[in-house]
Point group: C2
Chain length 346, copies 2
């Protein structure tokens, strides 16, 4: 068995990240990480007629870009594993349709990049695939329409609210054989998925859809603590512990929970939702969120820094809030989930 | 590599189905397969206040039942892999929450049982888990509210429309070690997952949400043909080829497509949507549909018949239509997908 502790797996033959792509909207391009992204789309409709089709277009761009960036042939990708925030994965279904690669649709809310990397790594290491394309996305306008208010309503947003990132991130996870055949290996060091920690649904009873950070922080804490326990490590063993989209409110809660557990992570912690926008300059309140948030921060910024040599080992923990418009109107809680991915430079 | 052809995997150490459970509503209990189901819930609300909570209750019942039926301990189940039709997997998130088992949320529309069995088999055979619980569900009233009209509206349904099955099916996929420890092995023969074929998104341009069979039949045909090609087999090598929920309209289309491909399956084919209701007696138009349809037909009826010795090898092909209320209103097509699972008696 390759399991490690109660919730984790350590891969004997860690699969490689053969390439990555990040495609973002205008606001993300103007943020602090703007220069790192592979492509910025200034048109929020990405040339389409609806927000949902625009999101599908971002996904299609990211998938095509990761194939051309990495020099991996479409025929060498066994599966796509992906999903988005929209009901019935509408953006992804239409976004990946043209590629005609066998498809697994997944839903982990904003933790989707973590879930897809986990499954992709298992498929490659288990020899069920030589290459898997992991992709996810979100779109500010599509998400507001789905979960809150249509934009023309012009509602006010409380300070704890986050801003859904418009963007799509894609990664190709592959084995050594495919890496050897790849025409354009990523510049710099190789990066592998050393292990994973699968989250449990964590529900602290939060019902405020304008404070998703609070709903997700306990899930992040649970998964990070499980990772430490299962691998017998602590914050000191990672160069960075990266959560998905807690924003400034959720980040504070995560730090508090981890300190109460006797596992402080504050000095090693970075939240993609905090990094992707400049909250002093951009009107995003508590920061960024959405499946795209951690996906483009990973594919645009973090992997570049890892390949350049800045970080050796990162615990990447995308965080998801299982909110639906129906559960919100029925006054149910917002369960959270988080997946932990141990990324290592080789 | 354990891949077989372009879209399939053949497992060198086929994982076992250690137990199964089916929980259905009143109409399913009154149908031709009624006597096979493990539990019938006469109350459509399952003691809850909303349709969505009722569906979560069905899931929770099916999960608890498969654990007690099989005598597998909760602590020996590494992951739950599951999903449902509702936006953001609302039914599943709340349905599995209390079990506190690490969770992968998936969305394959009505093909979900196929997707979850595929992933569960990979996790077990890849040694990432000793046991995985695969679960899915649907609820007639919740689905009508989500996709079509609320029930009190009393709209008329065309003849091609299917009736969403109220029910949840759960399976525990496990390795030999867990089987040896299991306190209550299923009666009769052992059943394994010999291989899988992963579907591509197949889109013939169907836009009629009242004719889901037509949207899914091409996906079923594509996956069955890929299975035949990848494994070098034909309809004659299976005792049954079982599609999920094409209904009478979709079934006819599937037969026609397969005959046009020169791969007739009519004599070996059974559709869960056709079997689960008596269309001459029950007012369901073209038959049953929904994630629950193939899930309860598998867990209640098919596995029992396999374990009793009636069938040796079944190709189980749950079929999904990636319809969303938003894509419907935006007049987009309904892409289909299907997963093929080769079940063998040992």
């Amino acid at each position: 068995m390759k399991t490690k502790g109660k919730q984790s797996v350590e891969f004997p033959n860690p699969p490689y990240l053969l390439g990555e792509a990040s495609v973002v909207g205008k606001m993300e391009g103007e943020g602090p990480l703007g220069k790192y992204f592979h492509e910025v789309c200034p048109d929020p409709f990405v040339g389409k007629k609806t927000w949902e089709e625009a999101e599908s277009a971002l996904i299609e761009k990211a998938c095509n870009l990761v194939l051309s960036n990495s020099g991996v042939k479409r025929a060498d990708v066994n599966y796509i594993v992906g999903g988005d925030l929209l009901a019935q994965l509408m953006a992804t279904s239409f976004g990946v349709e043209n590629l005609q690669i066998p498809f697994f649709g997944i839903y982990g809310a904003c933790s989707t990049m973590g879930e897809s990397l986990t499954l992709s790594a298992m498929m490659v290491e288990g020899e069920y695939a030589q290459g898997v394309l992991a992709v996810t996305s979100s779109h500010f306008a599509g998400a507001e329409k789905q979960f809150r208010f249509p934009l023309p309503y012009g509602n006010q947003r409380p300070a704890a609210a986050t801003w859904t990132v418009t963007g799509s991130g894609a990664v190709i996870v592959g084995n050594e054989e495919l890496m050897a055949r790849q025409k354009q290996p990523a510049a710099g060091a190789k990066v592998v998925i050393r292990g994973i920690t699968v989250g449990r649904i964590t529900d602290y009873g939060i019902k405020d859809s304008m404070n998703m950070g609070a709903a997700m922080a306990p899930a992040a804490a649970s998964t990070i603590a499980a990772n430490f326990q299962d691998f017998g490590v602590g914050a000191e063993d990672y160069d960075l512990i990266v959560t998905g989209d807690l924003g400034v409110v959720g980040t504070q809660i995560l730090h508090d929970i981890m300190e109460a557990k006797g596992l402080p992570i504050r000095k090693k912690h970075l939240d993609c939702g905090v990094e992707i926008y400049d909250t002093s300059r951009q009107d995003v309140h508590a920061g960024g969120s959405g499946c795209g948030c951690s996906a483009v921060t990973l594919t645009g910024y973090l992997l570049r820094r890892m390949r350049e040599g800045s970080y050796r080992r990162i615990l990447f923990v995308p965080t998801g809030a299982m909110l639906s418009p129906v559960s919100f109107h029925e006054e149910l809680t917002i369960p959270g989930i988080a997946y932990g991915i141990v990324l290592e430079r080789r």
